[in-house]
């Protein structure tokens, strides 16, 4: 059953150094606030997992907290490069970054296998590409019925998955809607689950295109309104496309990046303070 907890407490209790963490969100509902809390607490040597590592992963990598990244597309969507990610891969700054990369479908199916209690999942793809050479977690197998060759991807089971949702109720049941991406599978494949939410409501009313996660599938629910910024929570907040563009110049230079992190993340206590620190600075 999910405890309604503070984000600080949840990160302290449920994430340890050297563990694997998936902060999932496919361009929507990205748990940036939880990522900042991980940075504030200086959790280290993490293996980060996510289809689309974006700004918050760029920050975790730039802060030197990440040992390994398992991913399928590492860019600033619609803008360009993630400069801290590139700096780590191209120049090992601030440390070497081990990579394991997949296609979106491949990593999605690794989560599906994990969520399904299976050691692997089958799919088409990978054949004919160089991706197959660079991971142990994809292989080509034969169909036992037709002999056809298909790809197999190994299950992934993060130590902790963190996602952001619009609503929880007081028992810790959670509902998210809109683009729900791979969040259900990321949560179901993990050993521990943290959900940050916009709002705690008395009763959850089912929504179209929604994912409902019963309390018993979650370890901690934390109220973190605005916790996706600059991403968004449909019907609650707006995506700040300007900030995504602005991140390009903040992150391009090591010093500018470090100063920004110092000022807006390390010197703020929580998401509320973080958001306040940006007022008048951004856009």
């Amino acid at each position: 059953m999910a405890e309604i907890a503070s984000l600080q407490e949840a990160v302290q209790t449920l994430i340890a150094d050297h563990e694997s963490v998936a902060l999932e969100g496919f361009t929507h509902l990205i748990p940036q606030g939880a990522g900042h809390e991980i940075i504030r607490q200086g959790k280290k040597d993490l293996t980060l997992i996510r289809l689309t590592p974006d700004l918050i992963y760029d920050q975790l990598i730039g802060m030197g907290l990440v040992k390994k990244l398992i991913f399928s597309w590492g860019g600033n969507p619609g803008v360009g490069s993630l400069h801290r990610f590139r700096d780590a891969v191209e120049h090992q700054w601030p440390r070497e970054l081990e990579l394991e990369e997949h296609t979106h479908a491949g990593l999605a199916n690794r989560y599906v296998a994990g969520a399904s209690g299976l050691p692997f999942m089958v799919m088409k793809g990978y054949q004919g590409t160089d991706l197959l050479k660079n991971t142990k977690n994809a292989a080509v197998i034969d169909c036992p019925f037709t002999g056809e060759k298909v790809a197999a991807v190994a299950a992934i089971n993060p130590d902790t998955t963190i996602i952001h949702a619009q609503q929880a109720d007081r028992k810790g049941n959670v509902q998210l809607w809109g683009i729900t991406g791979i969040q259900k599978e990321a949560a179901f494949s993990a050993k521990k689950v943290i959900v940050t939410v916009e709002e705690v409501v008395d009763k959850i009313e089912p929504r179209p295109n929604a994912v409902f996660l019963p309390s018993f599938t979650i370890d901690a629910v934390c109220k973190v309104p605005g916790g996706t910024y600059p991403s968004y929570a449909l019907d609650y907040t707006k995506r700040d496309n300007q900030f995504y563009k602005k991140w390009d110049s903040i992150s391009r230079d090591r010093n500018t990046f470090m100063n920004w992190m110092e000022r807006h993340v390390l010197q703020t206590k929580n998401t509320e303070e973080f958001l306040r620190s940006l007022e008048g600075v951004v856009t």
Binding site: E101, T103, H104, A105, L131, G181, N209
Partner: protein
């Protein structure tokens, strides 16, 4: 009306989309082209973004594949495993639009690294949904502006398979999709030779010479017998494209 090579490229790409098709759309040029088509001659085309939004009808061009505009104007939204497994892999996508950092003469694409994989000069974003679009969409349209460092003899990493080593090397692998049928550039159009699958210059944009294309390509380009000249942008095409970009 005057127009830029980039506008011409987008408009030519839009023209390829016939009405009623389902189209798996990436951000940037593909999204601009697909939405332009939807606003002009293909109002019943079904745009699918890899974020799981199906049948989206954005008014403004989205910055990311997950903009609220896409979620709010879609017929339905499905989770990622479904969009990849049931829709793309399940053969429900007619057209996939792709680009990349590098392309070779058999339309294989690289969006992973420039240089070696373990010690790259430039680390690119990586695969994303491109490899599965390339192998599974019934037909693939590639949009890439011509540049010598992009159109290369040998790409540094095969992220998404085109025709591999040409001829039947793609069909040997049993992919669902028939592969790239067109490469739309900012100077003209390349299409795979029916037999060898080598990209061949088949159309030029008005005022462009064959040599200009060859100058921007890192291999000796095959040229079709009768290279056609593509119709320049019509006013309504240009106006609608500019409107979309402004919104």
């Amino acid at each position: 009306m005057d127009y830029t090579p980039d506008e011409m490229m987008t408009i030519v790409a839009a023209r390829q989309l016939t009405d009623g098709v389902s189209c798996f759309v990436g951000i940037g040029l593909p999204s601009a082209a697909a939405n332009l088509a939807r606003h002009l001659h293909a109002p019943e085309s079904i745009l699918i973004y890899e974020s799981g939004t199906i049948g989206t009808k954005p008014v403004a061009l989205p910055l990311s594949i997950g903009d609220e505009e896409l979620a709010e104007t879609s017929d339905t939204i499905v989770p990622l495993p479904e969009i990849f497994n049931y829709w793309l892999q399940g053969n429900r996508v007619d057209i996939g639009f792709l680009g990349g950092a590098q392309i070779d003469r058999f339309a294989n694409l690289n969006s992973t690294v420039i240089g070696t994989y373990d010690n790259p000069n430039v680390r690119l974003p990586g695969a994303g949904g491109a490899p599965e679009i390339a192998s599974m969409a019934k037909e693939v349209f590639i949009i890439m502006p011509l540049k010598k460092r992009a159109f290369v003899e040998k790409i540094d990493f095969i992220t998404s398979a085109g025709f591999l080593e040409g001829s039947h090397s793609r069909t040997d692998l049993g992919f669902n999709g028939s592969g790239p049928s067109i490469v739309i550039t900012d100077l003209g159009i390349l299409r795979p030779d029916p037999e060898s699958k080598e990209l061949t210059l088949t159309e030029l944009y008005p005022g462009v010479k064959e040599e200009q294309v060859q100058e921007n390509i890192g291999w000796k380009l095959k040229i079709a017998k009768n290279v056609q000249v593509v119709e320049p942008p019509r006013d309504e095409e240009l106006q609608k494209l500019r409107e979309l970009k402004k919104a």
